[in-house]
């Protein structure tokens, strides 16, 4: 129950941050990506503002043996580059550049889309879910629990530390 409240609170803060920073607006994101046009550097300040928090916070948090409400940290352990990482990032980059949407802002933008009946946002999110389902169809074998699936998945998520 407490973990659900953390997820709700954290998700809400995240969505609020995306809205305040203007990142739910694809036009603003494309303004950042369009380095040859009327360049808007705001996105760099958003990432910078986030990293100002996460760099020191993650360093401190990962000194703990385990999280406050869970048995272990779920941290990617792969360190080598591979074709999936590079190819996936490149495909994502094409989609991001075409639309101005990455996953978080697209989902958060559902709120103004519901309010104003903005069909293109729904179209994007449904297509994004379809792309994720297509990935799952091709690369993820059926697994019983999410834990095992992620532990052996291409992201190399392995739980680290843990209570003993």
């Amino acid at each position: 129950m407490a973990r659900m409240l953390v997820a709700l609170f954290s998700g809400t803060l995240f969505g609020l941050g995306l809205a305040i920073s203007g990142m739910i607006n694809p036009a603003k994101v494309i303004g950042f990506l369009d380095v040859a046009g009327d360049w808007d550097p705001t996105l760099a300040f958003v990432m910078g503002g986030a990293l100002l928090i996460t760099i020191p916070a993650f360093r401190l948090i990962l000194k703990r043996p385990y999280p406050v409400l869970a048995d272990s940290f779920w941290i990617p352990t792969l360190s080598s580059l591979d074709g999936r990482l590079l190819g996936g990032a490149a495909l994502f980059g094409v989609g991001w550049g075409l639309s101005g949407f990455c996953p978080g802002p697209a989902v958060a933008a559902l709120a103004p889309a519901f309010a104003t009946g903005l069909v293109p946002v729904f179209a994007f999110v449904v297509a994004m879910l379809a792309g994720m389902a297509f990935y799952r169809l091709l690369f993820e074998r059926p697994v019983r629990g999410m834990g095992e699936g992620r532990a052996s998945g291409p992201g190399g998520f392995v739980s680290r530390g843990g209570r003993s």
Binding site: R3, V6, A7, S10, G11, F14, G15, L16, G17, L18, A19, S21, G22, N25, K28, L33, D34, D38, D40, T42, G48, L51, A57, L62, P67, V68, S72, W74, L81, R84, L86, G87, A89, A90, L91, F92, G93, G95, W96, G97, L98, S99, F101, P103, G104, A106, A108, F124, M128, L129, A130, G131, M132, Y135, R136, F139, V143, G145, M146, G147
Partner: protein, 140 residues
């Protein structure tokens, strides 16, 4: 440049995103990668499904709160047509899952751990996105 540049609200919004990511790691031990959280909605079960669903509800709720407080109307402006957005959506969904992350998981959380995979992925997707915008805006 740039009448639209908003560094202060960018830093504040980014700071909130950073705090949200730190809370998820501190309390639940999870990396706040939106593509992983949303993608997990398609396959996770039980409590693994419910925390993801609740997080996504929060993501939308946060934008609702902003709309109620700030009251702006033109929050989402899109230039692309619906067919282009559908293609882009499929690429973003497939690409972020194949590449194990997006702007949040690689760009915010991964770089914070100085992961060379995340730093590389961020350079690749940002570079390719900028190139894509250059081609669609300035070439065609």
């Amino acid at each position: 440049m740039v009448e639209n540049f908003t560094p202060v609200s960018g830093l504040i919004g980014g700071g909130l995103i950073g705090v949200a990511s730190a809370l998820m790691l501190l309390f639940s031990g999870r990396i706040t990668g939106i593509s992983g959280i949303v993608g997990g909605l398609l396959s996770a079960k039980g409590s693994e499904l419910s925390w993801r669903a609740v997080f996504v509800v929060g993501l939308i709720l946060g934008a609702v709160i902003y709309m109620l407080v700030a009251g702006g109307t033109n929050l989402v402006q899109m230039e692309a047509s619906v067919p282009v957005l559908v293609v882009a959506g499929v690429l973003v969904g497939f690409g972020t899952r194949l590449g194990s992350g997006c702007t949040s998981g690689h760009g915010v959380c991964g770089i914070a751990r100085f992961s060379n995979r995340s730093i590389t992925a961020t350079i690749v997707f940002m570079g390719v996105a900028a190139l894509t915008v250059f081609i669609t805006r300035h070439v065609f």
